[in-house]
Symmetry: D2
Subunit: 303 residues, 4 copies
């Protein structure tokens, strides 16, 4: 299996069925550079405008509609020493009556060094605040169905701008395939991010990302899924949070039925006492919720 | 400071300004029995009907509107060997199109033994499923403002049926005081519960609960708060989840301003990278979301 | 059947099972004065504080849980020449990003004269704006179930602060009865109001209201309903609007089944092409949506 | 100004920047055939698959990003004698607990004749039900921004599947222009439809539609707008209804500021007492709400 090095020269602000920048085989590894959410690269040069310019698409040989594409994130190495966020929190995450007293939203810079991010000009009280490196892909996914081309500001069943902090190194993401070759895109790397992406950003910077792809023939899934060392999770992307949670829960129940032999009642008894929900983002046009289950709970079912 | 033993004979299905069952002093401890959500006690006898019969109210000397009441949960000991849940998942937590294929909702029984809960008649695949003891108070709080008396099925700024799994032993809960003496109620203990209470119950059983109360004079808060060994959190109770999250976030920002000197911008930079959200319940008439922050993050701010 | 004149001396800010101010018989008429949402009466004197002080409760002989109470609003006569509203629009009815540019919310006064309301100090562009009299009861209903006592700021299955502009003279409202005697309350009259009550008020003033009551024995309904000369409608009270609409639609389908012999499929075909929805209020803790159907459509079903 | 006759041979399931089927000048009229939501034409032959195959795009000379496109619907003539709907109501418009008792969703046929639609095989109670012709365009709009191509199942700032019953003959619709030539699409005609499109369809059939286009140079708008003989309205497309209503209200306030000189406070006083909201659809991936104002109210402002 090959290991490709990809230094992109074109970028996309929409996920769609575009000309592949690379054709790769099932099992191949790729080392790809990604620019930040506004298009700034490792040298701090702007390569493309917002929103979230994508590296890709990668055409994965053998991937057909109805299959799943597994993408294992091996490594995410920030490749410059500066990142940025916005503040204060977005107006939709506080009480409507509290919005009027928020200061104006502005971009701020962070120094990235030694596995820590520090505000370059911290406000009172945050002089000692350090955010540890916990890298993640904010936006990644495949070409959507029906020949659509959809902005990287939002997300759907095909992935996209989910901004989920568990989509980092060590995680395998699964996407439904809608187009021949899947057409995988990635970008919008975050040095770290809290739940909900409530300031509208993680700490945005450019990365070198290493990942492998694998085609799961005939495995049809409804929404993005993921797997870490400790957990499996299913993602729902929609507004409001209630609907995102419904999609995520329904997808998890479909997973438990297909791969663990649990019917709706059994899955309910299990999830009822063991499920965890993560609010991935509550900022983008579609919010994202993860329905998450411990692998140790699943392992114990075998007795 | 006294330690009171309380074996209740009257129960309430609403939180309101009722005759106290006990007057206690600031700092006192109470050992109180609670019946389960349908009113069954330690002997399996029904003492009161649903919803969530409360033990209380306890009149706390010195608590006045504008203060906060701190309730430290010291211990929750299940006092019978049987619990119950419902299944399958509630229709509002899956896609509307998936509701029609769910089986009928029915009550099921669990054996509680050796710190584990086991389904008495497990469906296929769950023969080995054990849910470990992680006790919590599903419904507790104080008399609401304006002389209201509100069903224990729901929740609000005064607490109530929040069904948050971190309201267990070791946690201190804080409630705004709206009535003289605060009038504290508790009940609806769960042997354990997943996020969201998505089957509509935790594992419901009766408990012996030990707690202490403490009046925080002049500390006015807007929503219930809590503190564990590792975290502080603020709760929002409302529908939809988006609004519950708004209340929780706004309350956390008020907390960070008042006790940690962080203005809206500083609090935003901190929460943006470090906040965690928990979906406490997505079943009751008001949903509950916790906005949670690690104490270690806060401690590091001091440098 | 008697006609009672009621000049209230006590007022309630919550709907609950309080001592009746009057016992009336099935079929009786009542002429009652109501104060405005902040408690100001016909003389402009404050008789009680907010929210929405109620006249009542009226104990209706013969009304028992499981019955419905029909209240026919015969007349609403504003009894002073001044009303008030708030402005600008509430922050929850515009885009979160637009909230910061709204001016501060303030109370403004209107002159009520000759069946028109005019701003006493109109902003530029509204010098000629006249709002015609279209009176309505913002808040009315019966004692809630379970012995609850609930703030007149909100609403539920028992009615309350629904702020629906079709609850005016000529309309018959129907409420489920939860307590012996129903315990009917009314108040919060509006000179007029747009859909949604988006400034948080109608034009608030005091009224003389005349109504008749009638007990519908054994007619159990789930939510408030109403009937005008031209329409029948069912109300849902909840957040978000989606859920209020679900309650209203479900209640309308129950009505069409019980009184018009239409099963779920037939009701769907009818409503699918003929239903109207009104956004009654999108401001209060519970929003209100009306599911409305033309009587002429229903009449034509008979052929 | 020309009058074009358009009998389409290609159809699109997405709104995007595709090759125009016709280039037309500012002021031109077009008579275009549209197929129904599943692609059946006037002869009952399937010309294309779902969702909502569009006739178009029409390139309008002179339309540039930042302009608005005005589309006046002159006429909609159903061109076959059969239509179809679905039933029962969609699961998302009734209480989640009521979904399980709904019958299975199935397509049903209607006879279209003499300006009336009649169910071909009516269920009990609907033998005499006739739905009068009130034609409307369910889905129409322009190419979205950013080179996106978006499914005709949903809607956005560019229009799309709004399913609003007031988008019929006599109405002028306004769309923001995002692509050179605007690239206007239309289709998904309904013989009639209730509010909310709660069965998931209007009465779907094919049409001959006549319309004129006009470019409004430099008039930048944020969301689709419309104008009938009696009303102006602004549309918001989003989930949940609350957010759709926020967009619609914000857009109406922008309109009142730009064209009627009303600042936020004046617009609030006016809308607070005079606004109407319509629930256009509560079925599609994005719901649609119209914020509507009477032209007579606006005319009276001039004194």
């Amino acid at each position: 299996m090959a290991r490709h090095i990809c230094k992109p020269v074109v970028f996309h602000n929409v996920l769609g069925s575009f000309e592949p920048i690379l054709r790769i085989a099932d099992g191949d590894a790729v080392v790809a550079e990604t620019v930040d959410a506004w298009g700034f690269d490792r040298a701090g040069e702007r390569r493309h405008g917002p929103p979230n310019p994508m590296t890709g698409p990668f055409y994965v040989e053998g991937a057909e509609p109805g299959d799943s594409l597994a993408v294992r994130i091996l490594r995410m190495t920030p490749n410059r020493d500066e990142g940025w966020t916005f503040g204060p929190v977005a107006p939709n995450v506080v009480d409507p009556s509290a919005v009027a007293v928020l200061p104006k939203r502005e971009r701020v810079l962070w120094r990235l060094e030694g596995g820590k991010a520090r505000l370059i000009d911290p406000p009172a009280g945050l002089a000692h605040f350090e955010a540890p490196l916990a890298p993640m892909l904010g936006c990644f996914g495949v070409a959507p169905p029906l020949g659509q081309a959809i902005s990287t500001a939002t997300s759907g069943a095909y992935g996209g701008n989910m901004d989920y902090r568990r989509f980092g190194p060590g995680t395998t993401a699964y996407f439904p395939v809608f187009a021949p070759g899947a057409l995988f895109f990635l970008g919008d790397g975050h040095f770290c991010q809290g739940d909900g992406e409530i300031v509208g950003t993680g700490i945005e910077t450019s990365f070198e990302v290493e990942f492998t792809v694998s085609v799961q023939k005939g495995r049809t899934i409804g929404w993005p899924r993921g797997e870490t060392e400790d957990f499996i999770f299913a993602i729902g992307n929609a507004r409001p949070l209630d609907q995102a949670l419904q999609h995520a829960t329904s997808e998890m129940m479909a997973w438990l039925a297909a791969d663990y032999g649990l019917d709706a009642l059994a899955a309910s008894h299990l999830l009822g006492q063991a499920v965890r929900y993560d609010v991935a983002n509550v900022f983008n046009p579609a919010y994202s919720v993860a329905c998450r289950l411990s692998k140790s709970v699943l392992a114990a079912l075998a007795g």
